[in-house]
């Protein structure tokens, strides 16, 4: 606690890299740009690793460092530049820097033929800076700086191909939808300031602990604050109702999708809820709502993923669905399970996205799965890593996804905020996840390679990618020029190496959380325990609701049979999903069309993502646009403001015009004016005399 680890260096290094690349990168060669970016990211990762090692395994209190100069002091409120290293942020910082570093390496290969190379790495480093600020901050306000900053970086990177309308619009959509959530986050922060007078973690959580609040029964202060924070998290972590930006965000280059929209930025909301667990634990209603939203998002997105034909879109909906799982975990107060799933998801989702990028690179820019197939033999390394990732996400042991998903589902089943119904929905979602992931796997790697498959059906995916599949992805067009051949080829080693590393992590990453009933000792939960347990709970008789929340204090008398049964059910669901995918997309490929023609109505609705985007457009966007155009633009801006300014000009002109009539050139009128003037003077003198 006393040793100064200079934690501020960790976020600062990528910022320096971003500045160098941003200001001077235009003149650098590609090699120089990537060297700068990789260097700073690598050193940041190394520093983070050293810092974690220094405070390992961490105690009951966090390691806090504050910079000596103040940031904000306004009356009684002050916010410092402070950095907070406890077990939770240790995990987050290692995930962010580690996975970030791997994706940087991958991008060197993936973006090598792209224009704006230096811009990409500058933005990527900028993103790392903001994300690290977010996870290392010691107060909500600094976290909010990082929060907004990653939104900005996301906007810049989604709209990287800014000349494309769809990409620019997607960037705007992401930023604006995020802002809606941020507004709620701000309200939550204001409530915290009002109640606690500070936004520092130790101040707020310490006061909560001292005061020994009992969980609220109704809708009091903590519930409202928690709901505001949760709404902010739904924006950043793409939950219902603010998830609509994430599928469109696939317009950005694939490494961006991997880093920001799978592994790190979207997890910020989960991190924030886990960090605020003290507040959430006191607001049972809020937890229920979190759980319901998480569950709803998970299954909703899974159904949408079933019908998508663009490989990245499937992964996007999968991300939304898995984030729903994490939200659900937080909603049943199993924060450790949520963070565990966050970590494993980072590994296999990043691997899936990077693998998809590798596939897209191999087929020269095509992203529609109906034009892929049979790539197993052509790009074997990619095939194997994607296979590992698919098995991991499907939740089949002993790969990573199984352990984290099982922990979540187990917590859901036993929690008063979850219960068997939500657990069942979770299991069904697991089955759907397995189904659509293996569907992707089969469609991409098995069958025969059909690059010229007919996509012309009117009712198929109306995304921009399907409509303009050839060369729509600027990456693709660049690639065709670069390689100039029509063959499918494996990616260069600079892209494959991170894939392999991530594959290893996807296999082994779950082994830190092997639950007791199988024989492990659930290292990650014990690791996070000091964070998740507030000291007050450990010392005294907890309220009955809280007793169940705390996974550690769950008594060991829970029968392991039940645990095994729950785990077995989810594995069975996963295998069912695999079976159906094998049936529909390998054994009898004509079945899907027959099925979709039978349920044409439902299929169309799912294909169009339940018309949510259209709904939002009609309910929110159109009226706001109309209001803005009619009232604010025409009414206020043109009418009032321009009217005032122009009116002032017109008035002077008018007055001048009237006064001009005195200069008529007509002598008699001049004579008349003279006479009038003289008469006026005389009258005045007479009046003076009379007085």
């Amino acid at each position: 606690m006393t040793k100064n680890l200079y934690l501020w260096v960790i976020p600062l290094l990528p910022l320096v890299g971003a500045a160098i690349n941003g200001l001077f990168g235009r003149r650098f060669k590609n090699a120089m740009v990537s060297a700068v970016a990789l260097l700073f990211t690598a050193v940041s990762f190394g520093w983070a690793a050293w810092a974690v090692y220094s405070v390992w395994p961490g105690g009951a209190t966090a390691h806090i460092e504050t910079l000596p100069f103040p940031w904000i002091t306004a009356g009684s409120f002050s916010a410092p530049f402070g950095f907070y290293l406890d077990q939770l942020s240790m995990i987050m910082v290692l995930v962010v820097t580690g996975v970030g570093f791997l994706i940087h390496i991958y991008s060197v290969g993936y973006m090598s033929h792209e224009g704006g190379y230096y811009r990409f790495f500058a933005y990527l480093n900028l993103f790392m800076f903001f994300m690290l600020t977010l996870v290392l901050a010691n107060n909500y306000l600094l976290m909010f700086v990082g929060w907004e900053g990653v939104g900005l970086a996301s906007y810049l990177l989604i709209g990287f191909y800014f000349l494309k309308d769809s990409a620019a619009n997607a960037g705007k959509k992401a930023f604006i939808v995020n802002r809606i959530g941020d507004f709620a986050f701000l309200i939550g922060m204001f409530l915290l300031i009002q109640h606690f007078g500070s936004l520092n973690y130790d101040t707020v959580f310490g006061k909560i602990a001292e005061a020994h609040f009992s969980p609220e029964v109704g809708w009091g202060f903590f519930t409202i604050t928690a709901l505001c924070l949760m709404f902010g998290a739904t924006g950043k972590s793409a939950q219902v109702p603010l998830y609509v930006w994430l599928p469109d965000a696939m317009e950005g280059p694939t490494p961006v999708s991997a880093l920001i929209h799978a592994a790190t930025m979207v997890t910020a909301g989960i991190y924030m809820i886990a960090r605020s667990h003290a507040i959430f634990n006191l607001a049972p209603h809020a937890l229920e709502i979190v759980a319901i939203i998480g569950c709803l998002t998970a299954i909703f997105a899974a159904t949408m993923g079933l019908a998508q034909t663009d490989i990245k879109r499937v992964l996007a909906y999968s991300t939304v669905s898995q984030l729903g799982y994490m939200f659900l975990a937080c909603g049943v107060a199993a924060y450790a399970a949520g963070i565990f799933h966050l970590m494993t998801h980072a590994f296999f989702k990043a691997l899936l996205f990077l693998g998809a990028g590798s596939v897209i690179h191999a087929v020269g820019g095509e992203q529609d799965m109906r034009r892929m197939g049979g790539l197993r033999t052509k790009i074997p390394v990619t095939f194997w890593v994607v296979t590992i990732a698919t098995i991991a996400i499907a939740g089949i042991p002993p790969f990573a996804g199984f352990f984290s998903k099982d922990q979540i589902l187990g917590a859901v089943f036993h929690s008063p905020y979850g219960g068997p119904v939500i657990w069942a929905v979770g299991v069904i979602t697991a089955g759907l996840t397995s189904f659509y992931m293996f569907r992707l796997w089969f469609m991409t790697f098995f069958g025969e390679y059909k690059p010229d498959a007919d996509l012309g059906d009117a009712h198929l995916a109306p995304t921009a990618h399907a409509a303009s599949a050839h060369g729509a992805d600027a990456h693709g067009s660049g690639h065709d020029d670069g390689h100039g051949h029509g063959g499918v080829h494996e990616s260069p080693w600079v892209m494959l190496a991170p894939l392999v590393i991530l594959a290893v992590l996807s296999v082994a990453g779950g082994w830190v959380g092997i639950p007791e009933f199988i024989g492990g000792n659930n290292k990650i939960e014990h690791f996070l325990a000091p964070v998740m347990e507030s000291p007050a709970v450990a010392g005294e008789q907890p309220a009955p609701a809280m007793k169940v929340l705390d996974p550690i204090s769950r008594p060991e008398e829970k029968p392991t049979n039940e645990e095994l049964l729950l785990a077995g059910t989810s594995v069975a669901a996963a295998i069912f999903g695999f079976f159906f995918a094998w049936l529909l997309y390998y054994k009898k490929p004509e079945l899907p069309d027959r099925i979709t023609s039978k349920i044409h109505g439902i299929y169309t609705m799912v294909l169009h993502k339940y018309y949510v985007d259209e709904g939002y457009g009609a309910i929110f966007v159109k009226p706001l646009l109309a209001l803005s155009t009619v009232v604010f633009w025409r009414g206020v801006d043109q009418g009032v403001i321009d009217g005032l300014v122009n009116g002032a000009g017109a008035t002077s002109k008018g007055i001048g015009n009237e006064l001009r009539r005195m200069q008529s050139g007509n002598i008699r009128s001049y004579a008349a004016w003279v006479a009038i003037g003289g008469a006026a003077v005389l009258a005045y003198m007479i009046w003076l005399g009379v007085k």
Binding site: S664, N666, R668, S669, A671, A672, W673, A675, I676, A679, L682, A683, I686, V690
Partner: protein, 166 residues
């Protein structure tokens, strides 16, 4: 009594001449009416005992200036006035303004006439020429000399302005 009657007679002649000046359309008639006005004014000056002023009124004003006017009218062969659209300002603002002023002044004078006294010819040496000359060449010498320069300038100006462009 006699003075009052005389004053009224000559005053009426004055006003009649002035009104005629306005009403006539040909400028020569207006000029002749003006001569009438000046002549009756000269008589009124006599009533006031201003002999010298009456004399120079007839000699200079009626005799020289009005003759000049008549010369110019005849030279330019100005015909009758046409009706043209004039200035609305003059009609709308000017005329009522002046009427109001005249009425005000008149009213003031009539109501205040009690404070003012009446005018008589006190002594026969009041408006005498040599008294005026004494004033002119002693107290008002500077203005006198300046006016002579003014006349010189006026002559030069008139000559220059009247010359034909050649």
């Amino acid at each position: 009594m006699v003075h009052q009657v005389l004053f009224i007679v000559f005053g009426l002649i004055c006003v009649a001449g002035a009104i005629n000046l306005l009403l006539q359309r040909h400028p020569i008639n207006s000029a002749l009416s003006l001569v009438v006005v000046m002549a009756s004014l000269a008589l009124i000056y006599l009533l006031l005992g201003a002999e010298f002023v009456a004399a120079i009124q007839v000699i200079v004003y009626a005799g020289a200036i009005m003759v000049l006017f008549v010369f110019v009218i005849m030279l330019l062969n100005a015909g009758e006035e046409e009706r043209t659209r004039g200035s609305r300002v003059a009609l709308i603002l000017g005329v009522p303004g002046v009427i109001i002023l005249a009425a005000t002044v008149g009213w003031l004078l009539v109501t205040g006439s009690g404070q003012l006294g009446s005018v008589t010819i006190a002594s026969s040496d009041f408006g005498e020429t040599h008294a005026i000359a004494r004033l002119l060449f002693k107290d008002f010498l500077l203005p006198f000399e300046i006016t002579s320069v003014l006349i010189l300038i006026a002559i030069m100006g008139a000559v220059v302005l009247g010359k034909r462009e050649s």
